[in-house]
Chain length 207, copies 2
DNA sequence: TAGCGTGTTGAGCAGCCGCTCAATACGAAA
DNA sequence: TTTCGTATTGAGCGGCTGCTCAACACGCTA
């Protein structure tokens, strides 16, 4: 047996510990939602005293907002990389729809929905939701504008169309959380609806 | 002073008390969301001991599910009456969009969002969400089918289109909860988008 | 007027929550 | 080897949660 069988207690630098705490909180949020982030849950996961969490994160609301931003911005980055694998705006838009409705995204959907609910009482979280919403909108707007420049999309107000697309995807994903069927069944429908919204030729976003 | 300045204690029949409790819970949910429904909050609002609430509602999860159904089904009924004031399918669809995005519905939106979040751990609530979702879908499907019968809408799959419309409205309302701007600004955009989704002639759902 | 049924009470339990703070133990510097 | 800074501990506080249960009090009936 090693010198201490009880606890191989690790002493990290302030910076390392701070990162470890945020990472643990992110893991908890991905597994059980933002509402599952508690001092004791984080401490338990790191095998550390609860007071240590408070020492590094004096405000739980602030930590939850940080976790939200980290998870959501990471997902946006991932999606951007996935979409960047394609050249044309049509292919990219299709990749976006397929990825977002393709399932396996339940944990992120839960984070978004809980953020909307908790954001009513958590100011920091509300600001974070606004900021991340804007980032998402910006991304979709650019995708639309690229299509317009290519001449394959025809929309008067890219920003408004972006919100409609995002709204539809959010709504369908939220429903998938509760229903048995997954959102995958809606990929084809969503592709057709997007074609009309984007003024794209019929079938240009399909399989 | 009256005989008892302390408490004009009221003794209700079991049936009356049961209704009063559900009503109080509904009022709390409308004001502060489903998550604000607690034994002591209801008891305080009725000026009654907390134990009495448990006596009539042995399971808090069950009560929350009941409250959800009551609020949401009442809203659907109200919307159906509002829409019924119009004759043509186009006018009715426009009335639906205007009413749902016209603001003043924040409290119901909060109830829906919290239901999605809480439904992950509350089985009764999850079933209630499924049931109410189906009722909503049915209503919108009938509206679409009426338009198809009139020859003003042209859709291949009314059920799928209904989900898209509902998803868009849900998504936009959820965003309105967190952003400063209200969903009202999206009525015109939503009307145009719906025209394309429904295969209606341009402008048929507009002002 | 006495009795009984039932609507009602409210303290109490166990379990969470965020957060505090004095005490501790470890590691690097002197 | 001693000192000192700091990362870390963990019991504890007040407050919230759902829920229990023995006792109580009011109103109808006999």
């Amino acid at each position: 047996m090693s010198p201490q069988t009880t606890r191989p207690r690790v002493r990290l630098s302030a910076e390392e510990r701070g990162l470890a705490i945020v990472d643990a909180a992110c893991a908890i949020a991905r597994e059980h939602g933002l509402s599952a982030i508690t001092l004791r849950a984080i401490a338990g996961r790191l095998d550390v005293a609860s007071g240590l969490i408070t020492h590094y994160e004096p405000s739980m609301d602030g930590l939850i907002a940080r976790v939200f931003r980290q998870i959501v911005s990471a997902e946006l980055l991932e999606l951007q990389e996935e979409v960047a694998r394609f050249r044309s705006a049509s292919e990219r838009m299709r990749a976006l729809i397929v990825t977002l409705l393709g399932g396996g995204r339940e944990s992120v959907t839960v984070v978004w929905i809980e953020a909307y609910a908790l954001g009513r009482r958590n100011v920091a979280l509300r600001k974070a939701v606004q900021a991340e919403s804007r980032a998402w909108s910006r991304f979709v707007v650019e995708l639309i504008q690229a299509g317009v420049a290519e001449g394959v999309f025809h929309v008067a107000d890219p920003a408004a169309t972006a919100w409609q697309l995002i709204g539809m995807i959010d709504g369908l994903n939220a429903q998938a959380l509760v229903r048995e069927s997954d959102a995958l069944a809606y990929v084809a429908q969503m592709a057709r609806a997007s074609e009309t919204l984007l003024g794209a030729t019929s079938g240009s976003l399909a399989g």
